[in-house]
């Protein structure tokens, strides 16, 4: 290990260049994994390398990924939101209800987004207003929001969405590029910029590393966190619009269990579950990996649960392998 001399003055800005840091980063590891899976899939199935099939495959992850972006920020700030899947259900139920009242497509979008936002407000108020731990609060609201959908819908379903509404989940912007995929790309860029290039993003990191010190440094901790819960709510509302449009119907069990999928995606993307570190490119790569694994196994007609074993193993091993490797290297060095 190189010893660095501590010089009293003229401290350099950085010790290593951009390239060196990039090479050592989590994202490059994920990138390699993604490439391996891509190659593996192409070899395993003749149907994989087809633009339309690849386009269909993106539907497997775009909706979860939208939420994962906002969730990444929440987790970096040291909190978690387990209620996202239930927000999808409640927002979808509200849109279904609005259809019965004769709302048209633009109004439905407004309803979906505002219900998502409202759920975010509830979470945000409980967590930042009352200072309750987010993991417990959102386990509670997870039951509450989906429970409300069950009370409204029971064993019924809302259907009859207007034809134009189906564009969000089934429409294409250009050639094979679906609306959902385009939205995914746009959101990835927006979230990447917000987290990595703005003062707001820096505040998120600061809060995740040391909330008290961030507060003393003049960061409006409560406000930032509240905004983050609003964002996850809003993203869940957006995902709800896409999913509802793709399914063309609403049942209270919609998107059941997605919260764990979203968290898995975020963690696989290299976001520390303890807060304080992680990047959007990492999450994007994780989304692509999870989507490709699901689709690749699907083409081989492997049952979904086997894919989840794979994702589970991937989750543990991508975190464990670098640790083991570092240890082995240290042992060799001695």
């Amino acid at each position: 290990m190189a010893e660095t001399h501590l010089s009293p003055r003229n401290i350099p800005d950085r010790l290593e260049g951009r390239g060196a840091r990039l090479l050592k980063s989590w994202e490059s590891l994920l990138f390699v994994v993604a490439c391996l899976i891509f190659i593996g899939n192409s070899l395993a199935s003749p149907y994989f390398l087809d633009p339309w099939n690849l386009s269909d495959a993106t539907f497997n992850f775009t909706e979860t990924a939208m939420i994962a972006f906002a969730m990444a920020l929440v987790i970096i700030s040291g909190e978690i939101d387990l209620s996202v899947a239930s927000i999808i259900a409640l927002a979808s139920t509200a849109m279904g209800y609005a259809v019965q009242l004769g709302f048209d497509t633009p109004a439905l979008v407004v309803v979906g987004l505002s219900v998502g936002l409202a759920c975010g407000v509830v979470n945000g108020l409980l967590i930042t207003g009352l200072g309750l731990p987010s993991i417990v609060v959102t386990i509670g609201t997870m039951s509450l929001f989906r429970g409300l959908s069950f009370i409204i819908l029971g064993d019924q379903a809302f259907t009859g969405y207007p034809g134009s509404f189906s564009w969000f989940g089934q429409g294409y912007v250009w050639w094979v590029f679906s609306f959902e995929f385009t939205l995914f790309v746009v959101l990835a860029v927006i979230y990447g910029v917000v987290l990595h290039k703005t003062n707001f993003g820096r505040a998120v990191y600061a809060i995740g590393n040391n909330q008290t010190a961030a507060l003393f440094s003049g960061i409006r901790v409560g406000r930032v966190k509240f905004t983050l819960f609003l964002l996850t709510g809003l993203m869940a509302g957006l995902a709800s619009i896409c999913l509802t449009s793709r399914l063309g119907s609403t049942r209270p069990s919609i998107a059941l269990g997605w919260e764990l999928e979203v968290v898995t995606m975020v963690v696989l993307g290299g976001v520390s579950i303890l807060g304080g570190s992680g990047t959007i490119p990492g999450v994007v790569l994780a989304a692509l990996i999870m989507g490709m694994v699901t689709f690749g196994f699907g083409l081989l007609n492997v049952p979904g649960i086997v894919m989840s074993i794979f994702i589970g193993l991937l989750l543990i091993s991508v975190i464990a392998l670098p640790i083991l490797w570092r240890r082995a290297r240290r042992r060799l060095a001695h």
Binding site: L130, V136, I139, M142, V306
Partner: protein
């Protein structure tokens, strides 16, 4: 006096449960018949056992999301053993389920201990892996009542002094865990590790190993519950107890166990589980739509954290001595 009593979290919960039971009895008197209350307890036994395991883990500032999956896998293996060798004595099956559960818990514990992977990530991963293993083991096939031996199915139902073995087992578990938590160094280490892991190192407590033991405990209890669940409902398949991990955590939260670690008690966990158990059992009886159950659980959880947080909130240190007091 009253205010002091109310400050005690466990008493508050006892009160809440009593009020709940009285309210239910008002709508539906047979609910408070002793036999029915015993039945509710029996029905909640498994949740109580699991909540105790989760409590140990949460005390050390970890979480075990894989408990329900562990339960399902151990239960499935118990059922498969029974189906393959119907003559195998029940204690052997029970012990193998417990042993398997313990091993699965150890895997969690070892990953947390030796590789330092955050507990939520470890158990999120093993949650899907354990459940997936059931599928690989069975190809998704169910094991049904007719494939299980009568001894297998009747063990938890057998009456001992008028109370089923299932209830007895949970009582014994509660007593054993209470002893471990309050009177053994390991039990105290749970609190130390969760209360201040950094300081625990300085105290000579091996934080990782303590967590490992907490996971062993939760795994063991999940294994025990696996057999109990499968024999009680006389069916085993991939999805048994799916989503139950959240009920377990909810029971702990309602019981006042701090998710931040270091705070909690055995009576709290038991009462938290009972509270949920009473609600679950009461709703169908008092004709509240089963669809409302989920929303009610949610409200209860939120209320419970809010109340507990209030109780925990430190009252400011008083520096000022008031003039009149001088």
């Amino acid at each position: 006096m009253m205010a002091k009593l109310l400050k005690n979290r466990e008493l508050l919960l006892v009160g809440a449960i009593l009020v709940l039971v009285v309210l239910i009895a008002w709508r539906f008197p047979p609910f408070i018949a002793p036999t029915n209350l015993a039945r509710v307890y029996n029905d909640t036994s498994i949740l109580i056992i699991l909540a105790l395991g989760q409590m140990a883990v949460i005390l050390t500032r970890c979480i075990d999301l894989s408990m329900a999956a562990n339960l399902a896998l151990s239960g499935m293996v118990a059922a498969m053993l029974n189906a393959a060798f119907p003559g195998l004595p029940i204690p052997v099956i029970l012990l193998s389920a417990i042993a398997l559960g313990a091993v699965l818990g150890m895997i969690n514990g070892a990953l947390v201990w030796k590789l330092d992977i955050p507990p939520i990530v470890v158990t999120l991963g093993t949650l899907t892996i354990y459940r997936g293993l059931i599928f690989l083991l069975t190809n998704g096939k169910w094991i049904n009542a007719h494939q299980m031996s009568d001894a297998f199915k009747s063990f938890p139902r057998t009456d001992l002094a008028g109370i089923p073995v299932l209830s007895w087992l949970s009582v014994v578990t509660v007593a054993a865990i209470f002893l471990v938590i309050s009177r053994t160094p390991l039990g105290r280490a749970f609190f130390a590790v969760g209360g201040n892991p950094h300081a625990a190192v300085y105290t000579g407590i091996d934080v990782g190993r303590t967590r490992f033991f907490a996971y062993c405990l939760s795994g063991t209890l999940a294994g025990l519950s696996g057999y109990l669940w499968v024999s009680r409902y006389a069916v085993a398949y991939v999805d048994i107890a799916a989503g139950f991990e959240l009920d377990i955590i909810a029971a702990c939260v309602i019981g006042g166990i701090s998710i931040a670690g270091g705070i909690g008690s055995v009576p709290g966990a038991v009462l938290g589980a009972l509270f949920l158990g009473v609600i679950k059992n009461a709703l169908p009886v008092i004709n509240i739509s089963p669809f409302a159950q989920m929303a009610i659980s949610g409200m209860v959880i939120i209320t419970a954290v809010a109340v507990n947080a209030r109780a925990e909130r430190r009252k400011g240190r008083v520096i000022l001595k008031k003039a009149e007091a001088v």
